[in-house]
């Protein structure tokens, strides 16, 4: 019987934020069939899909109408103004990738005829009110991907 060898091994790779823990979706046409949403965002337009067969407005955007199963959908503008339906503040328990942003406001806004969740920028929790108007804002990540947020209107 030989002597049992002890050795040290290296696992030196550092993983920053792997794909599986990246909250932001793949946005270009190689990764998604709703890349038009993100192209529109880059032009400052928040859009979603509407079924041309049954007329159903669909949020989030998709490729098949969940009301009539048609795949003939068109892109429609939702506008750039949101009405605040509910909101809170992330104080503790933020996920990886958002820890440095704490505290930050999160809300549900009514935009046109849809309700959606959103980050709310330029806002303090104590100063927000249910029903107040918010302005669409587009944020760009370091890698060029974009996403929507809403922001408190600046004081006139």
């Amino acid at each position: 019987m030989g002597k049992v060898e002890f050795d040290k091994i290296n696992r030196s790779e550092t993983v920053k934020l792997p794909f599986m823990l990246d909250f932001y979706p793949l946005e270009d046409e190689k990764g998604t069939r709703i890349s038009q949403f993100f192209k529109n965002l880059k032009e400052g337009r928040l859009t979603t899909t509407k079924c041309t067969k049954c007329g159903k407005l669909l949020w989030p955007p998709r490729i098949v109408c969940s009301n009539c199963l048609s795949n003939e959908l068109e892109w429609v503008d939702l506008g750039s103004e949101g009405e605040l339906y509910a909101f809170t503040d992330m104080r503790l328990g933020a996920p990886l990738g958002f820890c440095e942003d704490v505290p930050f406001c999160i809300g549900i806004v009514r935009v046109g005829d849809v309700l959606m969740s959103t980050r709310i920028d330029n806002a303090k929790y104590d100063e927000l009110k249910i029903g107040e108007k918010l302005q669409l804002k587009i944020v760009e990540l370091q890698d060029g991907r974009v996403f929507y947020r809403f922001a408190k209107l600046k004081e006139k």
Binding site: L21, T88, R91, P95, I106
Partner: protein, 387 residues
């Protein structure tokens, strides 16, 4: 359809456990089989494992055969894992119920297990953020506390519910969990404690929220006609209901009226031939204090918007209108996702058998419900149990 009974079960202590996912499995499995003299792992023909996120928290998929291997079970009828997030255990019971009821299985184990504590708390929180629609809701930092915080905000805004009323739910459930040796939190709390606890997502504070919890539990389901072979005191599955509307946070039926819960309640009451007045024990999904308040309303014990007043009057205590969460609830016992519904079922069985400590014993209880919600409260699952 055959009538189905639960004849036994077992559980681990819940909390921050110095144990792995598979340690928890073995602890609960042993507790169950040790409690049954006429039933061994070899008799089990089916195994359903409720587990919400083993891929994330234990880096392990294909978990049902792993549980089978560790417990010496050789499934030959049905083997599956159920994932329905916070209701994964309820889904396991429901699946096992369907298997036994249909005649597909004669002895089915419904198992629930979750390992939630991770060395890095942010990673544990990240796991919870893919529960909602990750690309459209999770991406905004929306996880359970902020979502239920907004639910609470709207309930306060529309109905005048107060933070003190919400705190009373936590006080009640911690009172009962202080009498539960399996509970994660075995200390009483006061309204002041709740209102002084750390702010998580306003208006929700730490003691408004159920914990991050490790735990496992299991129960055995057999046809009712076979139940007395294994125990003198089986518990029967008397009816059930489950409903879902929408998924993305913007597409829910309502933030302050849980329509799918009302649908599930209606179905459960219809199949069990009961009304809300017949329920002696309700193990409700109090993931947050506001949840339990809204559940009083949806189950029909009080009017819509009056849930806060209902707890203020002491109605959900033992001796009140209905004993809600005499186990200690998720707030007191912790919420090991896949295990929670199984822990509820097990405690109801022990209530029926008179095996729980005096201060949380519901004397003469004959009918009980166990309820779980999952996701942004768009899914509600209910099981009705009877003696």
């Amino acid at each position: 359809m055959r009538k189905v009974a639960i004849v036994g079960g077992g559980a681990t202590r819940c909390g921050k456990r110095e144990a792995t996912w598979r340690d928890l499995v073995q602890e609960a499995g042993k507790a169950m089989f040790d409690s049954l003299s006429n039933l061994s792992p070899k008799d089990v023909d089916s195994l359903i494992v409720g587990a919400a996120q083993p891929e994330r928290s234990a880096f392990q998929a294909h978990v049902a055969p792993m549980v089978a291997e560790y417990l010496g079970i050789t499934p030959r009828k049905v083997l599956a894992r159920t994932e329905l997030m916070c209701a994964s255990g309820q889904a396991a019971i429901r699946y096992a119920y369907a298997c036994v009821s249909s005649g597909l299985s004669d002895v089915a184990v419904a198992f629930g297990v979750e390992k939630m504590y991770m060395p890095d708390m942010a990673e544990a929180q990240t796991n919870m953020t893919c529960v909602l629609d990750r690309e459209w809701d999770g991406v905004n930092g929306l996880s359970a506390p902020p979502f239920f915080a907004m639910t609470a905000q709207r309930h306060m805004y529309e109905f005048g519910t107060t933070k003190e009323q919400m705190a009373l739910v936590s006080v009640k459930n911690h009172h009962y969990s202080s009498l539960n040796p399996l509970a994660q939190f075995q200390k009483e709390v006061t309204v002041e404690d709740v209102l002084k606890s750390l702010m998580i997502s306003p208006p929700l504070q730490l003691l408004d929220c159920s914990g991050i919890t490790d735990g496992a539990a299991c129960v055995i389901l057999v046809p009712a006609e076979d139940a007395k072979k294994y125990t003198d005191t089986p518990m029967y599955l008397a009816g059930s209901g489950q409903a879902n509307i929408g998924n993305a946070v913007g597409n829910l039926a309502s933030l302050t009226d849980w329509v799918p819960l009302r649908m599930a309640v209606e179905e459960a009451f219809k199949t069990a031939h009961i009304s809300s007045d017949d329920i002696d024990i309700a193990e409700l999904h109090d993931c947050f204090t506001i949840s339990e308040i809204m559940e009083y309303e949806a189950f029909g014990w009080c009017e819509r918007g009056k849930g806060g007043k209902f707890i203020e009057e002491g109605q959900p205590y033992i001796g009140g209108k209905v004993a809600v969460n005499p186990r200690g609830g998720l707030l007191g016992c912790g919420h090991p996702l896949g295990a929670t519904a199984i822990l509820q079922a097990l405690d109801i069985m022990q209530q029926f058998r008179g095996e729980v400590p005096k201060g949380r014993y519901v004397e003469g209880a004959k009918t009980a419900v166990a309820h779980n919600l999952s996701g942004p409260a768009n899914v509600h699952s209910i099981m009705v149990y009877s003696r």
